[in-house]
């Protein structure tokens, strides 16, 4: 790691990205890298941080912009970098004026002194990297949160620098790859827009189909598909996803899925969603298949099968190829390598990768030719739009804030032992033995007021539902906040979460909703 300072926010890195979390821990403990953690919970990394500050849920724009105001007021910003590589300074500076330490302290709960300490260490400690995960993005103002992070890196000259940067830790091991391959409503692979006739022509030629048969319209984000079920959406083909555990506001999601005429689920276990499906296609797991994964640093790596497929299951690629052939496709590639070869020919940023080249330690895109070594750091000299835009931002509270009726703020997330909706990890004897049941984290002062002790069964309730769960009284969570993992179907956290969406990214607000807790009778 080339960083001097690391700022982590919205990420319990050692639990949710254990390999990378271990690297950060090593950088801090062995190499003396300074660590700032801003998180309502005392995570493993918070325990070894130089600064750990707890912010109130949903206050990220406020504290991030407040820190920037302190940096500029103290002259710690990189003026030359801003002058040569950024634009929008005047508007940005104007919007920054409202983020006084007083305002920020009130909104975020972070003291003026702590804000100053974060600002000073981040801005003056050398090359500074920011790492964040879904604690930043899963908000009704998630895009604003990311813009605020980008602003902070820009004014301190930390973008396009090895050891610096804005580094989102993707939610799953191949989210980056899925997005790169166009598993999005508006783009083909490598983010080439479906609305561009020349791009459609290129794909039609590659696939040997008539371009006139291709849809030129932008599709629908998955969060909106559920809302349109039974209306515009009549059927769903769901692969490797379990909306009956992972969608926000599960009562609503279940109600909407029941409106569909037809559901196909292709997965490795009979998930809660598969139980509702008309057709279930059993597929191979990661351990049984060949293929590539693109990780959070854009590195494309080759995964190889460790075991033969179990009886009765088929490779995803085979299932899809068979289906495509039955729907009329000719010469549809049916092996991972054939698919990869076809893909790279139409995907400029992956074009220089071959199975042979990525065999050992992978390559980071852009890798546009077979002579290109891949690109570890982007934007070292230029930004995509030429100059980077400093974004003026207005603080917007989360959709739900604590009130008399629901006085606490619930945050959902993952545990070290389990993964996502629990589909894989809860079917693992070892992992499920290590963590067999759901627990709700509550601060000792809140617990005392409510007469709750560790191990008590409690009902947690929001405007959308009620779930019975075991309480864990712990000072690792901030006062006024609650934490509940979303892996357990016996206590499904997403019965409680809010399906309010960010207006741009359409991501649900999993990280903040108003809740109340009572001892269960």
């Amino acid at each position: 790691m080339k960083s001097d300072v690391i700022l982590i926010t919205g990420s319990n890195t050692t639990w949710c990205h254990p390999v990378f979390g271990g690297m950060i821990k090593k950088a801090v403990k062995q190499n003396g890298v300074k660590l700032i953690v801003v998180d309502p919970r005392e995570t493993d990394l918070a325990k070894i941080a130089d600064i750990h500050i707890r912010q109130k849920g949903g206050s990220d724009v406020a504290w991030l912009m407040g820190v920037q105001k302190i940096i500029i007021d103290n002259g710690w910003h990189k003026k030359e970098y801003i002058d040569t590589r950024c634009e929008g300074w005047d508007e940005y500076l104007k919007s920054l004026q409202s983020y006084t330490p007083e305002m920020v302290s009130k909104v975020s709960g972070i003291s003026k002194e702590d804000l100053y300490a974060i600002a000073k260490l981040y801005a003056t400690g050398g090359k500074a990297a920011i790492y964040y995960a879904m604690g930043i993005t899963q908000h009704s103002h998630g895009v604003d949160n990311v813009k605020a992070i980008s602003n902070l890196a820009l004014i301190t000259g930390n973008l396009g620098v090895e050891g610096g940067g804005v580094n989102p830790l993707r939610g799953q091991n191949n989210v980056q790859g899925a997005c790169d391959m166009g598993a999005l409503p508006n783009v083909f692979s490598a983010y080439q827009p479906v609305t561009d006739a020349a791009i459609r022509e290129k794909y039609a030629k590659s696939w040997g189909i008539d371009v006139a048969t291709m849809d030129a319209e932008v599709g629908m984000p998955v969060t909106l598909m559920v809302d349109q079920a039974g209306d515009k959406i009549k059927a769903l083909y769901i692969m490797g996803e379990n909306p009956m555990m992972n969608d926000p506001d599960l009562h609503h999601a279940e109600h909407m899925l029941e409106k569909l005429d037809f559901i196909v689920v292709q997965d490795i276990f009979l998930t809660e969603t598969a139980e509702k499906a008309d057709v279930v296609l059993p597929a191979t797991s990661f351990a049984e298949k060949l293929g590539t994964y693109s990780n959070t640093e854009r590195r494309v790596q080759l995964g190889r099968p460790a075991i033969d497929p179990l009886p009765g299951v088929r490779q995803d690629a085979e299932i899809i190829a068979d289906l495509a052939t039955r729907l009329g496709a000719v010469n549809f590639p049916s092996t991972p390598q054939a698919l990869f070869e076809e893909m790279r020919m139409v995907t400029p940023s992956y074009r220089g990768m071959t199975y042979e080249r990525i065999e050992k330690c992978g390559l980071r895109w852009p890798c546009p030719t077979e002579d290109h070594p891949g690109t570890p750091v982007l934007h070292t000299a230029k930004f995509t739009r030429g100059l980077a835009l400093l974004a003026p931002l207005v603080y917007r509270p989360s959709e739900e804030m604590p009130c008399d009726e629901y006085p606490l703020l619930l945050q959902t997330g993952r545990l070290l032992e389990h993964y996502h909706g629990g589909n894989m990890s809860r079917n693992s004897f070892t992992l499920d033995t290590l963590k067999p049941e759901c627990e709700l984290d509550i601060h000792p002062e809140d617990a005392e007021k409510l007469g709750i002790k560790s191990g008590d069964m409690v009902n947690i309730e929001t405007r959308r539902g009620k779930v019975k769960v075991k309480a864990r009284v712990t000072a690792s969570i901030d006062k006024g906040a609650l934490f509940m993992p979303f892996h357990f179907s016996e206590a499904p956290a997403n019965m409680l979460t809010n399906n309010a969406l960010d207006p741009i990214a359409k991501i649900p607000e999993y990280k903040v909703c108003a809740a109340r807790v009572k001892r269960a009778d």
Partner: protein, 152 residues
């Protein structure tokens, strides 16, 4: 190979740099986007720098021209189409156009070297090709920085 022949050759190369300078300067004036204007202005200045370098060799043919050959050629320019010059170009298109022009210059000199019977002249053409490869490499690095955006 006499000095007059060398001077004639460098005059040809200098004219190419002047043409490129004029092309980029004119393009800079017509662009709508400020960032693209800046890219073309920078390219115009760079071409003047190349011209001055070549002038030195023209004035003193006894100087031995030994351009450092870049260690690699990633061939990024060869992987893209030449964009059409238009007033609403994006920054990546401007860089793509510039790296394609360097590729064309490099290929021109390599072609001349291949058709040369005089070993001295061939060496100069290969040096000029290496110089253009160096320019192409630099522009390719800039292009890769912004030419494959994760925008959706």
């Amino acid at each position: 190979m006499d000095n007059e022949e060398i001077k004639r050759l460098f005059t040809l190369a200098i004219e190419r740099e002047i043409e490129a300078n004029e092309f980029y300067a004119k393009a800079a004036k017509s662009m709508k986007d400020e960032s693209v204007r800046a890219i073309f202005s920078d390219l115009a200045k760079e071409e003047l720098g190349h011209m001055e370098l070549l002038e030195r060799f023209k004035e003193d043919p006894t100087l031995e021209m030994k351009m450092k050959k870049p260690a690699t050629d990633t061939k990024v320019a060869e992987s893209v189409e030449l964009p059409k010059l238009s007033t609403d170009m994006k920054p990546a298109d401007a860089l793509a156009l510039a790296m394609k022009k360097e590729q064309q210059a490099m290929e021109l000199y390599l072609g001349m070297a291949a058709n040369c019977s005089d070993s001295g002249l061939e060496a100069i053409f290969r040096n000029l090709a290496d110089m253009e490869l160096g320019h192409k490499n630099r522009l390719e690095t800039l292009f890769v920085d912004i030419g494959y955006p994760e925008v959706f």
